[in-house]
Amino acid sequence: MSAPLVGVVLVSHSAQVASAVADLAVGLTGGGGDVPVAPAGGGPDGGLGTSSDLIAAAARSVDRGAGVAVLADLGSAVLTVKALLADDELPSGARLVDAPFLEGAVAAVVTASTGADLDAVAAAAAEAYTYRKT
């Protein structure tokens, strides 16, 4: 029995973006290993926005006891995760990771698939900020 993997939650204003970025990150990891990845996209009414209920459910669904890295796209997605963390409404090992959304998601899932701990997953996602394209 191997140690549990860090979970990854992807919070976007758009359900399609959250879900597609999750697919991309898992796909680029060769199926994602067994990393639990959950998208939490869109608002309470299903349109563009942020749903705290979706975020909390996604975080619970990927919590295997090794911690949960939460990546958010911008604005209300970031603020909602922070507000949920401030009031202990996410699993105890959940953490908002400061990272670019797509690149950070890929880095987080790849790193989590190696069995790395939450600190290493968060560091890898944050490091994606330093990758220049020109």
Binding site: P44, L79, K82, A83
Partner: protein, 220 residues
């Protein structure tokens, strides 16, 4: 009539519920204007979001009414976070939930305690959003309101007069966001183009404080 049993501690659960009803009515009434303000510098959903959130909060409180003023505020805050869908959800949710937690289990509190609770809530908003004065945000209405409330209470004013002063200051503060350049949120991407528009969040904050003043005056 809404009798207040203790003039020294007028803020009980019923008071906060009247405030919530007045705020929900204001967000409902002003929804179109808030969205219009949010159109040039935001994503044109502020009125819709605030209306949805406050109406949901009113329903949540009606269904399971908390017995303390703090309990009502915490429930309203939690409901706003889960129903607004924009940045206003966590920001207003934090404002009211922090205020409610500050009041704890107290059954009825003075205007000064309410001021302390609002200050805790405003501090929470500032910490969450990372904004300061003149960043063209909710804080530009809330901080002047707190200052006016404190000044009036320190000068010996009663709850109704002090909250009326807070309401006027919030309104002035919201209007004063017009010439400011946004430094937080989506509007900040617009840079200079955000100048010349009144901030929708400061405007809805002024509506919230005005609803509080109306409640203290006994209009609602």
């Amino acid at each position: 009539m809404n009798a207040t049993p203790d003039p020294e501690a007028p803020v009980d659960a019923a008071f906060v519920r009247r405030w919530l009803d007045a705020a929900a009515a204001a967000m409902d009434r002003e929804s179109a204007r808030l969205t219009e303000l949010d159109s040039p510098i935001g994503d044109a959903d502020h009125g819709t979001n605030m209306r949805r959130g406050f109406l949901a909060a009113r329903t949540a409180v009606e269904q399971d009414p908390p017995e303390t003023p703090g309990g009502v505020l915490v429930l309203v805050g939690r409901t706003l976070i889960s129903t607004v869908g924009g940045a206003s959800g966590p920001l207003y949710g934090t404002l009211l939930r922090r205020a409610g937690k500050e009041l704890g289990e107290e059954q009825a509190v003075s205007a000064a305690r309410l001021r302390d609770a609002l200050r805790a809530g405003v501090d929470g908003v500032a910490a969450l959003g990372g904004a300061g004065p003149e960043d063209k945000t909710m804080l530009d209405a809330l901080l002047p309101a707190l200052d006016a409330l404190t000044g009036a209470l320190d000068a010996g004013g009663g709850a109704a007069d002090a909250l009326a002063a807070a309401s006027a200051a919030a309104d002035e503060g919201a209007k004063a966001t017009t010439p400011l350049r946004a430094r937080k949120g989506r509007a900040s991407y617009l840079g200079e183009r955000s100048v010349g528009h009144q901030d929708p969040g400061a405007t809805s904050s002024a509506l919230l404080i005005t609803a509080l003043a109306e409640t203290a005056r006994g209009d609602v």
